[in-house]
Structures are given as C-alpha cells and as structure tokens.
Amino acid sequence: MSTITIALAGNPNAGKTTLFNTLTGARQHVGNYPGVTVEKKEGAYTFASGEHASIIDLPGTYSLTAYSVEEVVARDYLVQEKPDVVINITDASNLERNLYLSTQFLELGVPMVIALNMIDVAQDRGISLDAQKLAALLKVPVIPIIARSGKGTAELMEAALDLAKENKLWDPLYISYGEDVDLALQTMAQRITAASFMTESYAPRWLALKYLEGDSQIREKGHAHNPAADTELQEIVDRVAAHLHKTMETYPEAIIADHRYGYIKSVLRQEVITHKFDIDRLYTSDRIDKVLTNRFLGPLIMLGVLLGLYKFTFTFSELPVAWLETFFGWASGNLDALLPEGHLKSMLISGVIDGMGGVLGFVPLIMFMFFGIAILEDSGYLARVAFMMDRVFRIFGLHGSSVMAYIVSGGIAGGCAVPGVMAARTLRSPRERLATLLTVSFMNCGAKLPVLALLTATFFSNNQAQLMFLLTLLAWGVALIAAKFLRLTVLRGDSTPFVMELPPYRFPTFLGLFIHTWERTWQYIKKAGTTILAISILIWAMMTFPGLPATEEENFARQRQEVAALSAQTPEETLQLKEKLAAIDSDQAGSALRHSLAGRIGTSMESVSWLPGFDWRTNIALVGGFAAKEVIVATLGTAYSLGETDPEETASLSETLAKDPHWNPLMAMSLIVFVMFYAPCFVTVVCISRESGSWKWGLFSICFNTAFAFSLATLVYQGGRALGFAG
C-alpha cells in the first residue's frame, strides 16, 4: 500500500499542534497554502508495521463554514485533496462545543477518527466519557488520548490506518433541521442534481446546506460556475429566510446551528458523558484568572509580563548578536586583507557581507522573541492580554492582540519592527492584522535611536531625556492614529467579531516551543535572506556608481602624492601626515558619494526637500537609511567628509552639525520626525510583504509612511519658521 494521507483537524486549543508534534517530531515541513498566508504543515509518520503516512496539520477552526481564511483552507483541503482519513482532535474536557466541528465533518462525509484529547484533564474535572458508546452513536472510531505524553496515539494511528484501508466512500450524515429547512434542502438538492451544479466537487445536500448557511465562498463559486442555477438556489434561500424571519424571527443559519447542537446534545445525553461536579465549578485556571485578569492587578501584571518579554528578547539576544557582528567583522577584515582594492571587494564587503550581516543580525532577536511569544501563546496568557487590551485598541480599529506587535517593534524604545511585524501573526482578524502590520514600523526601533540620540544630544542637550520620552509617546500616538486612519480608508470595514476562547492555562511543552521557534526563524532566514541580499547589493551599487570621473580621481591621487612626498621627521609630523591623508580619503569618499546615483537622487531631491529643510547630504543619508536606519548616521558622516562614522562614536559629527550654519534645532526636529516615520527599512518591508502575502502592502508602507513623514516634517519646519523658531 502506498503512503496514506491523514489530515489533522480540530478546534484551536484542542491540542492539535501538540499531537502533530508528538506524531511527527522534527520530521515536518512548513509551507504556505497557495495564495494565502496560512501555514501548511506536513509531517511524516511511520506505523509499527513499517507503513508510512503523510500527516497534514490543518488550521484550527470552530466550523467549516467560510468565516476566516483558516476555515476556507481547511475545507478546501478536505474537499479537493480528499485525504484518506481525518483525525478530528477534540478537547475531552470541552466536548460538547468541540463536537460542533465533528458534526460538520460527519455531514461532509469524510472518513474520520475522533481523538478525545486531554482525557486526563477531563477526569480531573470529574468528567467521564464513554468512548465506545460515542463511537457507536456517531458510527466513527473514538480513541481517548493524551497528546502531550503520547498516550493512546499509537492506537489512534492504528484506527486511522484501519479506516484508510477500508477505502470507504464518503458517507454524509443527514441531520434533520426541522420542517422548513429540510424541505428547502430537499428541493435545492434536487435542483443541484438536475443541473449537475458543482456536483463533481460537492455532495448536493451539503452544497444546499452551505447556501442556506449563507457561505460566501460557495456562493461565489456557484455564481461563477452557473449563474442561473445560483440565482435559482438563492431565491429558495431568500424565501425560506423570509418565512423564518416572519414566523420565528430567526435565520436559516441559526436554525441549522441550533439543530446541530440539538443533535450533539441528543448523542451526549445517551450516557456518553457524566459530570461528577457542577460544570460551572471553578477550576485552577479560573482561580489564576481571578488574579491575572483582575481589574487592578491584571493590567499591572500584564505590563510586567510584556516588559519581561521585551527584556528577555533584547537582553538575551545581545550576546549572540555581538558574536554575529564579530564574525562578520572578522569576515570583512579577512576579505579586506585578501582581495585587491576595487569594486569586487567593495561589493563583497559593503553589499554581500553587510547585507548578510543585516539579515542574520536579526536572527537571535527573532528566535528569542518567538520563544517568548510561544510561551505566552501556548500557556494561554496571550488570549488574556487580548481580552484586557481590546477595549483600548478597538478605539483605533485594532484588536487586543495588537499590543504585542507594538511593544516588540519599539513601543518601549529600542525594539525592532522585524520581529514586531512577525508578531502580528498571532492576530486572527485580517483587517486588524494588516492595520497592525502597516503601523508597527512607526515605533522607535533600536536602529532609529542612534539617529535620535545624535540629533537630540547636539541640539537639545538640556532636555535630552525628556525629549526622548516624548518621542516614544509621539510614536505611539502616530502609530495608533495612523491605524485608525487606515481602518477608515484603505482597510475600511466592520471590526472582525471578537468572540474568542480563553483557553485554560497550560504548561507549554518544550518540543512545541522549540519547533515553533525554529520554524519561524528558519522561514525568516530562507525567505528574507535572498531578497534582502539582493536589495543590499542594489543599494551598495546605488551608492558606488557611477564612480568619480577620471580627472577628479587624478586630482585626489595628486593630492595624496603631494602629501606622501613630504617627508616626516618627528613622530608628530608623521601623525599629521596620516591625518592629512585620511582627510583626503574622506574628501574623496564624500565627493564619490555625491557623484553616485544615490548622491544624484539626494541632490535632485533638494527641489522638494527644502520644504522640511533637508539638504542633499541629509537626503543621501535618508536614502541609505532605507537599508537600515543606523546607516543614516554613517552616511551623514561620509557626506560631511568625515569618513565612515561609527554610530556609537558620533562626537565629531555632532560638532560638525552644531557648527554648520545650515543646521538648527528646528531642522533637527524636522529630521527627527522624518526619521521616525518615513519608509521602514527594507528588511521590514520584505517582512510586511511576506506577512501580508503581497508586495503591494510592502510598497504601500514605503509610500504611505514617506508621504506622511514628509508632510509632518514639513509642517514642523515651515510651521516653526512661521512662528519664528528658526534660530
């Protein structure tokens, strides 16, 4: 027998991922479903008999009616790929609700085994379940398991294998939905069969049911397939809906849901489930919640936890980041020594190594952040954060879960938008998620800090600390207002229903945490790595080509020769000569930069950049800042012919700026707001594109942010001048 395919399906929080990890261990592969950002996880399992199975971890859903991408993906997979068996994993301590999805699998008719997970937790709660009786009533195998420890999983897989070998035809369960709906279903099923309306993919009655449930995806498909039949079916639906509304003030989908729950209750009532205690009894989890979501203590603890996550991420990743920096420093040092001067060397060092360093430099950050988030998510605390923060974030058209992404991105100054953008994955609501993705880069990330520090230290040295704090508040304000603006314009639409589960607190499993962390990190390295390397080389080329014309090159060479011709007598003189040479080098680097494509762009941009008060040097620095914000300081140094400026050592640049008549506190303030809000660095742009599933949004973030920053900086500069602040 060839490899069988087994799909894992179930509610979120039922332990689906834990079971998947237990079954497949490290033998898993993560991809994406075509066209959507939902992850597709596949793994391999070998039976005791030596046979193999390929296991697909479907996204967790509560239902099979198209509501979110996850549900569409899960359903399409089942209908189109027709796996041999579905393992429906259910939370035994919360069985009634979990069986709602199971019922829909039965109605679809797919061969299924039900796993009663966390049977130990259910027993602790005084719930006893008769698996055999449930199996007899539902006519599918039911196996109690404990996914965390692997107990019962071998039996579960054997049952799945046996079922797969039976090779049964799909056998849909027919539930009665009451007279009105049943009659409509019958009529519609007849029409569907007569018109061969999408019958190659779906069973007629199931299709009719989806029409009655108002399933938007099925309707779209139906309309495209056969508009006349679609209209006819829709007319029947409208008639039933009108009738139900008139007689009972209800909706077809409400009737259907009620009857499904009725079916479940009728099954469970037949001595399948017995409760030893009152089902509303408080469990340990509820007692923890009394403290953790307490009106006063809750927010304080949450602040502590988020601060802790932040400290954990940025403190623990410091050391590996430093190792990586040392490694890349060592690599470029070696190349510098090995290769002859020239474009190849410059490209390898400034393009490839710096680009790679840029990508890999984020890896420890991403690893630690995802490890921290995985703990919060798997333990159930993240849902509580969303619960507590929702009221505030909803005002801005966001979701309670958005808070995490903002904090990591620099809501506490010094974060990083790259892991922040990736943290938005925990959001399930598409519009809220996109609004979060597009606004987190307004936060003051660690790379903007050197720029802000330089400018505040140079021009506002008396109130630097207060100003930095105000800038953090400004970033929050702008990000939230921008989110609101996006939700009122390009991302217009009702807020996604918040209805959400607060799962019981659980200890995360180490295997789960590690797999989770590694997966995300590897995806980042793989996908972002290639793109970022390419853009890094492109930016290098822009700042290098075209080189200085030969006459100017000669000019600098002659100056050098003149200096070299002077012979030094004393050590002081030798030092002076060296300084002179370095000054010529810096001069040349400055001229070359101005002559390069980036320099020309910077110069030509002066025609608009006078509005916020920037000259060509600042413009070039800002172009370079697209590679990474810390480059702004270094490029500004080169443009002022100070040579490469180390972002940590900016004293000479600070002096130069303070003396330069072009600069004044007003222009510095204008530049500060521009740097805070203009286009995110391209690593962030790549991540935004990846996470949103489209380059369109990456491009949007560049244009939207830059336009916004430009307007704000212009307002500051011109407004300040009008008020007479230009000192």
């Binding site: 239902s63 919360n94 449930e213 409400a254 849901a257 009620d258 619960f387 229903p497 209805v499 607060l502």
Partner: protein, 83 residues
C-alpha cells in the same frame, strides 16, 4: 423569570440563553462557539475597562465584546441559584 440582555448581566450571574438575534458573520461566529438558545451561561468577569465580557459556557470560557453581547438574550436563573 426575567429576561435580560447579556450586556446587562452581573459577574457570577447565571442564566439560559433564550435568543441570539443576529445573522451574518457575527451570528454564525457566535453560534459556532456554542452560544445557542437553551445553553446555560455564567458570567466569569469583565476586562478592566468593563468590556469585553468573559463567560462560562459548556465547560469552556469565551469572551465577547459588549456590542456583540447586545444580540444575546438570557433568562436569568432563580435567585436561589444566584451567587
């Protein structure tokens, strides 16, 4: 026995859902999570800003925003059952 909107219920109050008066995406989502007529719920608590609300249903805990809870009518259990 009085019927109340879910929004008006107090912490620790218990009742049985009598009607869910909303259709569309929200209605479907609410029903998917088990909020259907005939089901018993208990209010577990509210977020620090009084919204959303957390409730116990079928042995699990769900959260709803107040404006979503507005569509749900609940028959309150007798005073002896109230805490």
């Amino acid at each position: 026995m009085p019927t109340l909107l879910l929004r008006k219920m107090q912490k620790d109050q218990t009742g049985t859902i009598t009607a869910v008066k909303v259709g569309g995406e929200l209605g479907r989502r609410i029903r998917d999570m088990g909020i259907v007529p005939g089901t018993r719920i208990t209010i577990m608590g509210r977020a620090p800003l009084y919204d959303p609300v957390a409730l116990r249903i079928m042995g699990g805990t769900l959260t709803l925003r107040n404006n979503e809870a507005d569509h749900i009518e609940v028959e309150i259990a007798g005073p002896d059952e109230e805490l």
